[in-house]
C-alpha cells in the first residue's frame, strides 16, 4: 500500500536562510542582562549574558547550578534492588527513564534477562513517556516562545508577515495562515495549546497502563515488570495510541510550517543556537530477541536497539558501540563545588572485557560536595563537566543531546539499522509510516539530516520524534500481543543479589543520553552514579576552558528580536536554551564572565537597576 501523503522536511532548503549576517562588525556595546529564573522548563535555571547590542549578538554566557540533592552520597550502603525506586525521584518529568535505566543496570549486575513480554511492556511505557513529555514540552512550554502573544511583543514585523503567509499544509492541520498557528499556541487560550495539554494526559494514561504511575513508576522491577499482561491491557493502549497517531499527522506539518516560516521570515536564523555537531545518543528500546544484558555482548544488543546508540562528530558516526561509549565517559570537575577524587578509591580497574577503566569514569567517581560562595572566577556550579573521550583523536568532547530527539534521529539515521515496518533508517534519513486512522489517510514522514545543529532543528526533531515514538509503539503493541496470543505471559525473572558485581545501564531520557553506573560490594551499593542529559548540556567550562553546550550555543548567537534595549526580552536566547529541553532539578544558572567596557543594566522587567560601570 502506498502512503497517500508524503512530506519531507524543509529546514535545509538552499534558497532560504543564507548563513551569515554579513554586516561589518561594529565596536561592541556590551550590556549585562539576566533572566533568572528561566521559566517553562523543569527545574530552576537562570541566564546571565553579556549582550553586544551594536552587533546584535550574545557575547558571553556561563552556566551554573543552584540546587544540590546528593543522590550519589545517600545511595551508598543501600540495597541494590532499591536503586530504580530511588533514582526515579531524580526527575519529575522523566523519572521513569531513570527507573528503567536503573533496572537495566540491575539486570546486568544481577546477571538476569527479563522475559520478552516484560521488555515490550517497558518499551511501550517508555514510548508513551516520549509521546507525553515531548508533547507537553513542545506545545505547552517551548511553543509559547513562538506564539502570537510572544511574537507580537518581540517581533511585530514577523507577526505582520505571518498574517499574510498562508500555511503550506493548511489542508492537513486546519490553520490558514502562520499567524493562525501562532494564535492557536497562545497559553491557556489557543485551541492547539489546549489540545496538546489534553494529549499530554491521554499519553500519560498510556504510560500508566504499562508502568503504573506517572512519573515515578510502580510496576518496574529488576528482571521484569508487575504489570498484568492481557488482551485488554494492549487494546486499552492501542486505542489511545491511534488517537495520538492521528494527532501527529496534524502536528508534524504544523510545526514544519512554523519552523520553515522562521527561516524564511528571518534570514540567518539558522545561526541562532548553532553549535558544532557533537551529538551523543545512548540508545533506547531494547530488543528482547538480542538483549541479554551481558556486558560482553553489549555492542551487539546495543546495535539492536530500536533507537541506535552512537556518537556523531561533525556529521560522522564515530561509533555505535556501547562498550566504546562506556569506556569514553569522563567526568571532569570543571568549575563545580566538589572535591576531586583523583586520589580516592578506584572501584573498577578493568571492565569485564579487560579494558582499563579511567579514574574519571563514573564507576570510579567519588562525590564529595563542598558548598561554597558562587565565584565566577573560580567555582560557580553544582554541575560537573561530563565529557566523552574520542579515541581516534585523543580529544575530550563536550557532547550535547540536541534536546534528545536531534541526536536520536541523527545517530539512528546514519547507522541505518532500524527497520521495523513502521520505521526505516536509511543512512541519511529516518522514514516514519503512520497507518490510516479514523479521519486521516496513512502518511509517511521523512526526517532528513539537517545542515545545522541549531535551535530550530532541535525543536523540529522533537516533533518528528513524537511521530517516531508513536510508530515504534505500534510495532511494540504487535510484538506484545503476539506474546499474549502465544500464551507466553511471564513478565518476571527470579534473581539473587550478588555479593560483588558491577553494572551499567544505557538509555535515552526524553531530553537525551542517560547512563547509570553501579558498583555492588557485600550485597550493598558501594558506588552509584547516574549521568542524565542535562548534566551534559548544562555543564560548565572544563579544566581546558571548553564551554558546556548551553554556553557554547548561546554565545555568538545573533539576535533577531526587534525590541530595543529597553524592551528587550531575549527571545532568541530563550528559544536557544529551551531547545535543549533543560530539565534541571539539578538546577543550572548561566553567568557571564568578567568583561571590559561593560555597561551593566537589567532588562526593564527587572526590579532592581544596577549602576553602570564602564
Amino acid at each position: 500500500m502506498r502512503p497517500l501523503v508524503r512530506f519531507a522536511i524543509h529546514g535545509f532548503k538552499k534558497d532560504v536562510a543564507i548563513a551569515i549576517i554579513k554586516s561589518t562588525p561594529r565596536k561592541p556595546q556590551l550590556v549585562e542582562m539576566s533572566w533568572d529564573p528561566i521559566t517553562r522548563i523543569v527545574g530552576s535555571l537562570g541566564i546571565y549574558t553579556k549582550i553586544d547590542f551594536a552587533n546584535r549578538r550574545v557575547a558571553e554566557c556561563y552556566s551554573t547550578s543552584s540546587i544540590f540533592r546528593g543522590y550519589s552520597v545517600f545511595m551508598k550502603g543501600k540495597d541494590p534492588r532499591d536503586a530504580h525506586f530511588i533514582t526515579s525521584r531524580i526527575c519529575g518529568i522523566c523519572g521513569d527513564n531513570h527507573a528503567t535505566c536503573a533496572c537495566y543496570a540491575q539486570n546486568m549486575a544481577f546477571g538476569i534477562r527479563p522475559p520478552p513480554l516484560a521488555e515490550w511492556i517497558i518499551n511501550l511505557g517508555e514510548a508513551a513517556e516520549y509521546m507525553f513529555d515531548h508533547c507537553l514540552y513542545q506545545d505547552n512550554l517551548v511553543g509559547v516562545d513562538f506564539c502570537e502573544q510572544m511574537v507580537r511583543q518581540t517581533n511585530p514585523s514577523v507577526l505582520a508577515k505571518a498574517e499574510k503567509t498562508p500555511a503550506p499544509h493548511a489542508g492537513l492541520h486546519g490553520f490558514r495562515t502562520i499567524a493562525d498557528i501562532m494564535r492557536a499556541m497562545n497559553p491557556f487560550e489557543g485551541a492547539f495549546y489546549l489540545e496538546a495539554l489534553r494529549m499530554s494526559r491521554l499519553t500519560r494514561e498510556m504510560f500508566c497502563l504499562m508502568e503504573g504511575r506517572h512519573v515515578h513508576p510502580s510496576t518496574l522491577y529488576p528482571g521484569g515488570v508487575g504489570t498484568v499482561p492481557s488482551v485488554q491491557l494492549f487494546n486499552d493502549y492501542l486505542i489511545r495510541l491511534l488517537t495520538y497517531v492521528e494527532f501527529m499527522k496534524r502536528v508534524v506539518p504544523l510545526h514544519d510550517d512554523l519552523f520553515d516560516f522562521f527561516y524564511e521570515a528571518l534570514p540567518g536564523y539558522e545561526k541562532v543556537g548553532e553549535r558544532r555537531v557533537l551529538l551523543g545518543c545512548w540508545g533506547s528500546f531494547n530488543n528482547p530477541e538480542v538483549c541479554d544484558y551481558r556486558y560482553e555482548t553489549m555492542p551487539d544488543w546495543g546495535r539492536a536497539m530500536f533507537v541506535t546508540p552512537g556518537v556523531v562528530v561533525d556529521g560522522q558516526l564515530v561509533t555505535d558501540d556501547l562498550v566504546d561509549i562506556n569506556l569514553g565517559m569522563r567526568i571532569l570537575l570543571g568549575s563545580s563545588f566538589y572535591d576531586d577524587w583523583q586520589n580516592r578509591e578506584t572501584f573498577v580497574t578493568r571492565d569485564p572485557l579487560g579494558n582499563p577503566i579511567d579514574q574519571r569514569h563514573p564507576w570510579n567517581q567519588t562525590t564529595s560536595p563542598k558548598p561554597q560562595r558562587r565565584d565566577f572566577a573560580g567555582n560557580y556550579t553544582w554541575v560537573m563537566s561530563p565529557r566523552w573521550h574520542d579515541r581516534r583523536t585523543g580529544k575530550i568532547l563536550a557532547l550535547d543531546t540536541g534536546g534528545g530527539p536531534l541526536a536520536r534521529l541523527w545517530v539512528t539515521a546514519l547507522a541505518g539499522k532500524v527497520d521495523v515496518g513502521y520505521i526505516q533508517a536509511t543512512g541519511a534519513s529516518v522514514k516514519i509510516y503512520l497507518p490510516k486512522t479514523v479521519n486521516l489517510p496513512d502518511v509517511e514522514f521523512e526526517w532528513k539530516i539537517p545542515r545545522w545543529s541549531n535551535t530550530l532543528e532541535r525543536d523540529r526533531a522533537r516533533t518528528y520524534f513524537q511521530a517516531y515514538a508513536a510508530a515504534a509503539a505500534l510495532y511494540f503493541v504487535e510484538k506484545a500481543l503476539a506474546e499474549v496470543h502465544a500464551g507466553r505471559l511471564k513478565t518476571s525473572t527470579e534473581y539473587k543479589v550478588p555479593n560483588e558485581a558491577i553494572g551499567c545501564g544505557f538509555h535515552e531520557a526524553v531530553r537525551g543520553m542517560l547512563s547509570h553506573h553501579v558498583v555492588i560490594r557485600d550485597g550493598k551499593i558501594a558506588n552509584y552514579h547516574p549521568y542524565p542529559p542535562t548534566c551534559w548540556n548544562a555543564s560548565p567550562r572544563d579544566a581546558d576552558g571548553v564551554p558546556g553546550p548551553y554556553e557554547d550555543a548561546v554565545q555568538n548567537t545573533p539576535l533577531f528580536e526587534e525590541s530595543d534595549q529597553a524592551d528587550f526580552k531575549g527571545i532568541d536566547i530563550m528559544r536557544t536554551v529551551r531547545s535543549f529541553d533543560p530539565c534541571l532539578p539539578c538546577g543550572v544558572h548561566m553567568y557571564l564572565g568578567p568583561g571590559r567596557e561593560l555597561q551593566v543594566r537589567h532588562a526593564p522587567m527587572f526590579g532592581v537597576q544596577r549602576t553602570a560601570e564602564t
Partner: protein, 373 residues
C-alpha cells in the same frame, strides 16, 4: 503584574444572560453568590530539593484541571492568577515580581504552594544547597529558605505539595548531606497562617494529580466563603483523602483474604503482592482505589508494590522496598488457614455455579425441513 489568569467576561461567559434579566430577579441568580474573596493569587515555589514531579502531576489532573481553575470553569470561585515557574509566560525578574511584592505584604490574598524538601542551610560554613533567583545586592542566589521565611507570614494559606515538601521524602533519606526536612518540621507543626489556616500537607511521590487539585479546589471554596475550615488529620493531611489504607481499597484484597500470594516468578499475575514487598495494608493512601489518572494505573492494584510514598516515614522505614514487610509475614501466616479453606470452598461453589441448571438443554428432536419453511 503578569501571571496566568483570564477574565471570564472577556471570554464571553455569564454577563449576557444576566443582562436580559435586568429589572427582575431571575430565579437562577439566587443560586449564585459572589465569592467573599473576588480574586486570589497562587504563588508556587519548586525550588526545594525536589524534582518538579508534583508540578508535572498537577498538569495531569482533570478533577479539576488547571485550565478549569484558570479559565473560571467552576462557578462561585475567586478569580485565580497562577505564578508557576513551569507554566509561566514571563521570565526572570518579571516572573519573580509578585514574589517580591508578596514578600512585602502587598499582595493579598495569596496561597503559597511549596514543592521539594527544605534544606538545612545552617549545617555548613558557606554556600547554598538550594536557591531561586539572585540577590541584587550580594550577587548570590536567594536561598529557598529565605523565600519561605519572607512569604509565609503574609500568606492566606500554605500548601506543602508532595512528600518532599510535607515530610522530607526521598531527599531526607538517612545519610543525605543537606539535612533537608519537610515544611511541617521547618515551620513547626502548630504553625497557622495569619488567616488561621494550618499548614496543609498533600503527600505522595509524586502527589496524585486529582488529590492535589481537589485540595486546591477545596481551599478556593474556603476562600470564597463556601466551605468550612479544611478538615486535616494529625499529620496535616486532608481527612477525606488519606483516612483509608491502600489495602482497604485494593483490587487485590480478595486474593489476600484467600491467602493467594504472588511470588517473584508470577509478579505479573493478579494475586496479592504483599510478599513481594507491598506495604499497602498499613499505608494511608487512596491511589489503589482512585487509580493514577482517570482511574487508570496505581500501585498494588495493577502490580506495583506500595512503597509507602505518602507516609511521613518514607523512605527509610520502608527500605529495602522489595523485602516482605515484617508485619506482613505475621499476618499472612495468620490468614493462611482461613484463606485456603475459604478458597477451596469457594472453588467448589464456583464450579457448581459455572454449570447451567440441568433443565436447560435442547431435548426436542431437530425440526424437519418442512417445518422450517
Amino acid at each position: 503584574m503578569e501571571g496566568l489568569s483570564f477574565d471570564p467576561s472577556s471570554a464571553g461567559c455569564g454577563k449576557g444572560a444576566v443582562a436580559t434579566m435586568e429589572g427582575r430577579e431571575f430565579y437562577g441568580q439566587k443560586t449564585q453568590h459572589t465569592p467573599s474573596a473576588p480574586a486570589i493569587d497562587i504563588l508556587w515555589i519548586t525550588a526545594g530539593l525536589g524534582c518538579d514531579g508534583d508540578s508535572i502531576s498537577m498538569t495531569a489532573a482533570t478533577q479539576p484541571s488547571i485550565e478549569d481553575l484558570l479559565r473560571g470553569a467552576i462557578p462561585g470561585l475567586p478569580r485565580v492568577t497562577l505564578h508557576h515557574p513551569v507554566l509561566s509566560f514571563s521570565v526572570g525578574e518579571e516572573f519573580l515580581k509578585p514574589f517580591h511584592v508578596a514578600s512585602r505584604g502587598e499582595l493579598k490574598p495569596f496561597l503559597l504552594v511549596v514543592e521539594g524538601s527544605i534544606p538545612n542551610e545552617r549545617n555548613k560554613q558557606e554556600g547554598y544547597w538550594a536557591g531561586l533567583g539572585t540577590d541584587a545586592v550580594t550577587g548570590q542566589p536567594i536561598k529557598t529558605c529565605e523565600w519561605i521565611d519572607r512569604l509565609v507570614p503574609h500568606a492566606w494559606g500554605v500548601v506543602a505539595c508532595g512528600t518532599c515538601a510535607t515530610y522530607g521524602g526521598i531527599h531526607a533519606m538517612q545519610g543525605n548531606p543537606t539535612g533537608c526536612m519537610g515544611l511541617a518540621d521547618y515551620l513547626g507543626w502548630q504553625w497557622t497562617s495569619a488567616a488561621g489556616l494550618p499548614l496543609v500537607c498533600v503527600p505522595g511521590c509524586p502527589v496524585q494529580p486529582d488529590n492535589f487539585m481537589e485540595v486546591i479546589l477545596y481551599l478556593l471554596n474556603q476562600a470564597a466563603g463556601r466551605a468550612p475550615m479544611i478538615p486535616l488529620d494529625d499529620q496535616l493531611r486532608p481527612r477525606w483523602l488519606f483516612s483509608s489504607t491502600v489495602h482497604e481499597g485494593c483490587d487485590r484484597g480478595g486474593y489476600y483474604e484467600q491467602a493467594d500470594f504472588a511470588g517473584r516468578l508470577d509478579a505479573g499475575s493478579s494475586k496479592c503482592i504483599v510478599k513481594l514487598g507491598c506495604w499497602g495494608p498499613v499505608v494511608q493512601c487512596n491511589v489503589g482505589k482512585r487509580g493514577w489518572m482517570n482511574g487508570i494505573g496505581g500501585c498494588p492494584n495493577i502490580g506495583g508494590v506500595c512503597i509507602g510514598c505518602t507516609m511521613p516515614g518514607f523512605p527509610d522505614k520502608f527500605m529495602p522496598f522489595l523485602d516482605e514487610p515484617p508485619g506482613a509475614q505475621l499476618s499472612t501466616t495468620a490468614v493462611v488457614m482461613y484463606g485456603k479453606t475459604v478458597r477451596a470452598l469457594r472453588n467448589f461453589t464456583r464450579a457448581s455455579l459455572n454449570r447451567e441448571p440441568e433443565w436447560r438443554a435442547n431435548n426436542s428432536p431437530a425440526p424437519s425441513r418442512s417445518e422450517i419453511r
